[in-house]
Amino acid sequence: MSLFLADTWHLLVRHIRTTIRIPIWIAVTLIQPVIWLTLYGQLFRRVVEIPGFESGSYIQFLTPGVVIMTALFGSAWSGMGILEDLTDGVMDRLLATPVHRASLMTARVLHAALTVAVQSVLILAFGLLLGARVNGGVVGIVSILVLASLLGSGFSALSNGLALVTRREETLIAIINFFGLPLTFLSTAFITSNLMPDWIRFIARGNPVNWAVDAARFSMLGQNWSGVAWRMLLLAFFALASIALATRAFRAYRRAA
């Protein structure tokens, strides 16, 4: 166990160091959420007037949605890092050492979670600038960061596992493009569940992205803390299960490579 923690820490330091040396990446991944917030926030400003939309301001409604959407997309690309390490021979060099396999995965996931937390803070700040309000206070903000990081952990693990199994950039890109937007639109990121068709509302109930969006919105409003708590628990299970599954991908890699 202590070896697992030590390995994870040393590898996490490597990932953080790389990010700090190429900080442009954090900026690039923030361009999209800024566009979503300003453009969508303006374009759909009046949807809140539709009967059944229980929020008074669309930017208030949209901000947690965009935070979670960015967490989803940011972490879904995390497998690209593994592909780069595979191409450079770094992955093989690491795999030929006694390093804990779970550490290789956990360090990447923690790095993705930290990146998501930093991005979420910046998006929240931008949302506040545009007029959103966090009635949940500091607890609400921390809760949103935890929710986004948990969701990011789960999807970064899945992305890393897929990268190890497919070992092809094209495949990973195709899968992310195929699932990314549907997962977002099958959630309350842009529209309240009251206005969803029944079948979408039904599917959304099993969608981790939807758990995170709902809980982030409650945290922002400072309501329904029990609802936040159990969704957070579900997301934690989702993250752990994804990490466990992704770690098994190293075995598939050893059989196939």
């Binding site: 450079d88 021979g89 060099r93 050492t97 006694p98």
Partner: protein, 254 residues
């Protein structure tokens, strides 16, 4: 005891390519052993199986007394692996690369700083040690690769084309160091190379591999004698005799 023993190793990839087909090999402790063979002969796959990166379909493979399937961890603790693709982190400095490698290879943490310093000095990289590897020349990167493989003083070192891209002086220095390490630490080295002079001058014994099998093993002198008898022949002639091709450095550059 043999440092490496391979019995009847087979590996077929999922796309149906039979990379290794009943390969057997025995390498003694303290030997510098060369693998020669045309592209696709199974050299890289064999080295990957020995380094626990690829799981064999069948066969018994032991490295430094541990089984690659039964005790991969034991193997990993005792080997250094330097692949053809560099394998160093280009966004980290030379010192950071070596330090992380030492940590992952379980070098006692109290000795890591000193050990990294020692290796940097030995590789003549002290001046560049705090620059990120992206700024290194090909030769510097290759030397760092070697340092990564040796940081934890392994029993067995795998080198996949170690001197590609090195100038003749650095190559000569590397050969000298490998011979010294073998003498001082009884390091066993398994090397694949695309330089026949390297195989000839550096290796104690060679195996020529073709179609996933070992065709012949012996010291360079023995092999030349076997093929040429009393006439003087080169290693190139030996290679041609056993594989049917000239040894062509060009074919290695896929």
């Amino acid at each position: 005891m043999s440092a490496i023993s391979v019995e009847n190793l087979c590996k077929t990839y999922r796309n149906g390519v039979k990379a290794v087909d009943g390969l057997s090999l025995r390498i003694e402790s303290g030997e510098i052993f060369g693998l020669l063979g045309p592209n696709g002969a199974g050299k890289s796959t064999t080295v990957r199986v020995l380094a626990t990166l690829t799981a064999p379909d069948s066969g018994v493979v032991q490295v430094a007394g541990c089984d690659v399937l039964g005790d991969p961890h034991g193997v990993r603790r005792r080997i250094g692996y330097v692949a053809q693709a560099s394998g160093v982190d280009k966004w980290a400095t030379g010192r950071e690369n070596l330090t992380l490698q030492a940590q992952l290879q379980r070098v006692p943490s109290a000795t890591i700083t000193a050990r990294v310093e020692e290796v940097l000095k030995w590789l003549d990289l002290l001046d560049a040690s705090d620059r990120i590897v992206k700024t290194y020349s090909g030769g510097m990167k290759r030397r760092l690769d070697l340092g990564m493989g040796l940081i934890h003083q392994p029993h067995v070192l795998f080198l996949d084309e170690p001197t590609t891209g090195l100038d003749p002086e650095t190559r000569a220095a590397l050969w000298r160091d490998l011979r010294r390490l073998r003498q001082e630490q009884k390091l066993t080295v398994l090397i694949t190379t695309h330089y026949l002079d390297e195989a000839d001058q550096l290796c104690d014994r060679l195996a020529i591999i073709d179609h996933g099998k070992v065709v012949v093993t012996g010291s360079p002198a023995e092999l030349k004698k076997k093929v040429g008898g009393d006439t003087v022949v080169s290693l190139d002639d030996v290679y041609l005799h056993y594989t049917g091709h000239r040894f062509d450095a060009g074919e290695w550059r896929e």
